[in-house]
Amino acid sequence: MISRYSRRQLIYSAAAAGMARLAAPVWSQSPTFTVKVDMVVLSFTVTDNKGRYINGLKPSDFRILEDGIPQKVSTFAEGNRPPVQIMEDGSVRPFQASETGDETRGGISTDAFVGTNVFVLFDTSNYMYRGFVYASDAIADFVRGLDRADSVAVYTFSRNLNRTAKLSSDRNQVLQGLRNAVAGDEAALYNALLLSLRDAAKVPGRKVVIVFSNGPDSASMVAPDDVRAVAEDEGIPIYVISTSDMNRDPISTGVFRRLSSRTGGKTFFAKTWQKQVEAFEAIREDLGNSYTVTYYPQPNPNEGFRRITVEVLTDAARRYRVSARPGYRPRTT
């Protein structure tokens, strides 16, 4: 997962980095548009060849590369545990908010890395009419079962998005919002997903978006690829729980798979209530068994898509599989 904070930014100048366009002023009088690379927050899971999560790995067990350039990791966290700071000599110590600055002035608080901000996007369009209440039950169970450190928001959508329950750690408040959802008409899934990602991007720390939908989109103006690009750039994994039969709508099935795999999430096809519960359980496990590192990217002339590689350095690494986002595009501001 990649996220941004305003604590530090690298503004590459054409002169310093020898890059053609990066700092070329588009507007000579006031705004200057530059490529801005903020701190990168990357979450990933490590599994063995049987798909079991590998826990307990240390910061020194990993090497992070961007376009092949090794990165210097700033913080490291496992699951919902508090992060540790990686010192110059490779030693670790508890992460202190004060060392990174006051949050109100653009710094990062320790809390920002504890728990996950979960945005549940619930399809209440006509397509979901029959499964509406069962879906609501499954989401309610998922919300109740989240780690106490997690915050959760429930958004619903049909033609428009509705912030049914805003991001909160108060489960009752969220459930109240969820139970207040209203059935709608057309389905603008990708529009709603984009707006959810925009909201999630404003929140510091780890975040994921979980889409609960049966697939067909009848009203979106944005394409799934554009939405996926936003998720990639913002470092927000998309998990999809589709309540439709995967063979019935091959277009949506393909799109869902690509959306989730390219952002570090997963897609579940769960037609029955029981399968939906299991899907949510799997997502919860994913969240609880992930590693999160932060780093400031090393100078890199690539202003397009930067490929991220996570290498496990332990002896057993060959048997391990890392699930992480493939990369991101630095933001132009």
Binding site: A20, F33, N191, D225, D226, R329
Partner: protein, 1130 residues
Amino acid sequence: MLRSVTGIALMSVGAVLLCAPASGWNESELARQVRGLEMNGDVRGARQMLQRALRSNPRDAATLALWAAFLDQRRDPGAREAYEQFLALPALNPDLRRDAGRRLALLELIAGDRQAAERRLANLPSPPVLPSASEAGSGLPMKPIYIPGPMRGFSRMAALSPDLLPNDVMGALTRNVVMNGYHAVGGSESLEQTEYLKLVLRYLSQARELEKFAGESRQIHLPECDSAQTGELLKILGFRMRGGCGADVVLETVNASRAFLSMDSGFPLAQLEEALRTNRPFSHDWSPTQIPVLYGPEYWLSARERFTGETIDAFLGDPSLCRLYLGLVKLDPETAEQVRQHMPVQRVRAFAHVFDFFGGMFQLRNGRVVAPGGERSAAAWADLVGSHPNEGVVFVEKLVTKDDGWMASYFDALSRISGPAVDYLTEPNRMKRFYTALRGRITSPGPARPVFRANTDLMLLTTRIHVLSDGRPHIPGGIDVWKQLFIKHPHGKYDGKLTRAASGWSQPDDVVEALFALSRKAVENEPLKIFLTLTDIDRRRERPLESATVDRLAREFRAYGAQYSLFTEAPSLSDATILQFMDAASAVSSIRNNVMKADAAGTMQALTGLWQVFVRQGLLPAAQADAVLAGLVEPFTTRIRNDQDLFDAGRDGVFALLKATGAPAEVNPHDRMIDLLAGAPDARDEESLGLLRTQMLRVFEAQRLVSLKVIFDLSEHLESLSRGEKLNTALLNRLASRVSDLNLPKASLTTTEKNSFSFGYWTERHLDAQRKLNFRAVIDRAGGNAEKLREARGLLAPLLRDTLVGLLYIHYAPPGAQILYTNSLFARSHDFIGIQGTQQTWKSTEVLGTGWPSSAGGRLVGSLSTLPYALAEAEQNFLIPSREQALIWGDLVPQMLVSAKLPRWWRVTPGQTHWVGLHLRLGEAALAEAALSPAIRTDVLGLLDRFAQPARWKRVAAHLEQAQVAQAIEQVTPSEFYHLGALVIEKQLDVPGGLHAKIAELANADPERHNHAAISAAFGTPKPTLANSLRPQLLNLRTFPTLMGYSSRILAETWESSNLFYAALSDELGYRPSQLNLLIPEWTQRTVEQIFATHLEDWPALLRSMHVIAGQIRTETRKSQALEEQASLE
């Protein structure tokens, strides 16, 4: 009551005291200084100056009066207190005391504080007596029926706004049933309930079970989790408990349809679950809800129906009964009562559709029908209808039952208009003639039969016909043009009978009669569109278009008609330039290569679109507008043979535009263009301008367009290379990096999937060509050949097209836009060709591709002529309703967004916003005064009659008769208040409060800016459908209903309140007019997100939303202003 000239001086406490002597401060000087600050937009400075003056002399009458008037004019909540302080002064001039006391009483009535007003008035010499408030006469007679359970659940299920007033609920419900409750089964006449209605009925059934469960206490009560009733309640709700009572208990669905109803209706399930988990009692009120029904159930239902079921079920089960209700509830109370008494319900029911669509304009006053044309036309109406208007309801009955609604629709259309057009159209002979044409020989189906009213063309014709000062209608080009058009139309005959008749036409009435005849047809009425478009072009021209020009425009309307708004917006265009534009469009259309045609059309349309913006903004001198447009289109008439020609035409066009706007020769063309599009290259408010520029540049960057500077530098560089100069690698890299970005994002679908589902073949070709563009390779291949290097500039033509098109996208980017920031190919993907066989190059802009995940997102297709609306339409669903179940309003919202974004307010002065604010305030004051003075009431209601429909007019009258000023104000829109204020001044009505004097002072101070024409241009709204122009203007029309073919789009164009309201709000809160460039889009977005409407004509919901948002803005702004003031003091 007319006010005397000498009375004017006494009307304003503040004004009177401006010249009074006082100690400490020289009041005249103080007033002058305050006025100077206000005119400069420094409202805060003016306020502080007054506060300082008051601190130095808190009991000075003149200063206090000035202070009170200042606060009053700006709607400050402290105004009443200031007046009270003023009135508390000893030894006050009795006249001043009386005026101030009366003004304060009016403010109290406006605030809804009747008791305070009564006390205040009692202290005045010869006090006016407030009429008593009673329910009688306040509207239609209503009696309650009951539905089970709370209103909230029913509202949610029946899609009713929770903000509806109780008396409006049944009308809204019946409308929903008529519109959404039934659909035809197959091709038969029988109707079937829709899912919407089935759910409402199921909900009522569940609600009755819950009512039974609640028992006589009307409370759904569970004492504890383990109680005997828990299972029963959960069974009704469709849930069961998982886990035993205690912390682990969870509600889960056991009966999906019941659970759906429980959840969708908003039953407090979360609270119930929490109560069960904590083993606390659960209570929920389930008292029945009272819904007022017009005349009570006995009028609507037979005895048997009343005996066998609930009234609500009878309505839900019978769409014709709902239509009948809808028809009667729209009538003004007197008409409705007469109809009820005179016509048997079964007879009314047979014509419910006519009452529903056209009854709203029927008006009985003292037993007589108010008919268009008044006394002069009464006999003609008697002849046509078969009853004289003086016969009251007999006339109404005959009007409605005569010809399946044609006569009623004619009456309705003529009732809505005023001015010279109504004089012309209601001349008795014409009336009969035009009605005969409209009615035709076969009357069925009538205009009230379809779901939407089908008299759209009739309403457009009567509203937009241009009657000249000699009382004759303007016929563009003269009668011969129209004769020839009907006789020899290039696309076939419009109407055989009219074609035969056309050869004998000799008078304007002949043409108008033909247009009436065509207005009855359900098919596309092209002649009317041509007529109204050309009328609108001529409307503001000094010399009307020549016959030859009109003839060509009429004949080529089908191909290029969407472009004519360009001519409407610039009345100084010569016939030659207009014809040159037509030649150019025709030449571009004849380009065979579709890729090049798209580039040529895009470039030409973008250049003319930029010209249109600059003319509208006043950035391009009117004297040059014609020559510049001629210069822009001239190359496209013959010279576009290849990409080099196209590039040269585009580049020259850009420089011609820049030069005409006064740009220095060496200016950076891109910077200057952005500056111009922002609207104010020389704005004094750098902060607002900077923010607007930043917004625009963010979109430019997100669209990854190539700047004009880079494109032109590169073309110059190619030229220099051809002269043997050295290669500029940096410049090439810069362009290459911009173009290489086009590779992202790639489509995630396979080629097969894309081919199966996507569209826009020519757009893909356009994008692919740019993806493959490698300038370095082109230069290498040229190998120093001067001619080839020069030719290479042709490769820049598609890039230039995209940048120019993109600049217009950026200029019109609506508030809350997301696509423009997300889909980096959106502007580039504009499809100027369209789907094969549709020939959309010159048609209106349309949104295509919504909901096609494989299409790389939706895109805009067609020309750029209606780009602002299409962009807003594409982006509107990204607005996020702030309230549950609220629906973004299909056709109204884009128009609102366009009205907020298209105008710019850089040239608006503080005096102009104050002018608007004062007029709105004066309109309100007139209404308040009308509550106190019967004479004023008659005058004010006479003026209001021009705007409000009869039923609403009667409600206002009834409220005023009972001194319910606040309630009366709620019935009137801001634009109506503005026009009412203007009419109060024009008619010299005697409304105290000093507002007249203040407005007169503004008019004298700057007559060029402080007049209604200038305000119309500043705070009007674009009306592309109604006036064929994007030029902002106020037309002061009655708000239109929804119409077949346009839905609520014309309604939206007649909604002129938003910008006036926001202008007044900015004046009230002391914002600079230049800030409106950012604030109005933002406030509009918030207003849209707050709307909770029940149906497409629910403009009161929009009004409510505006007031809610204004309340929030007032609170936020005053809070921050107070903090700023505190900080500055510290």
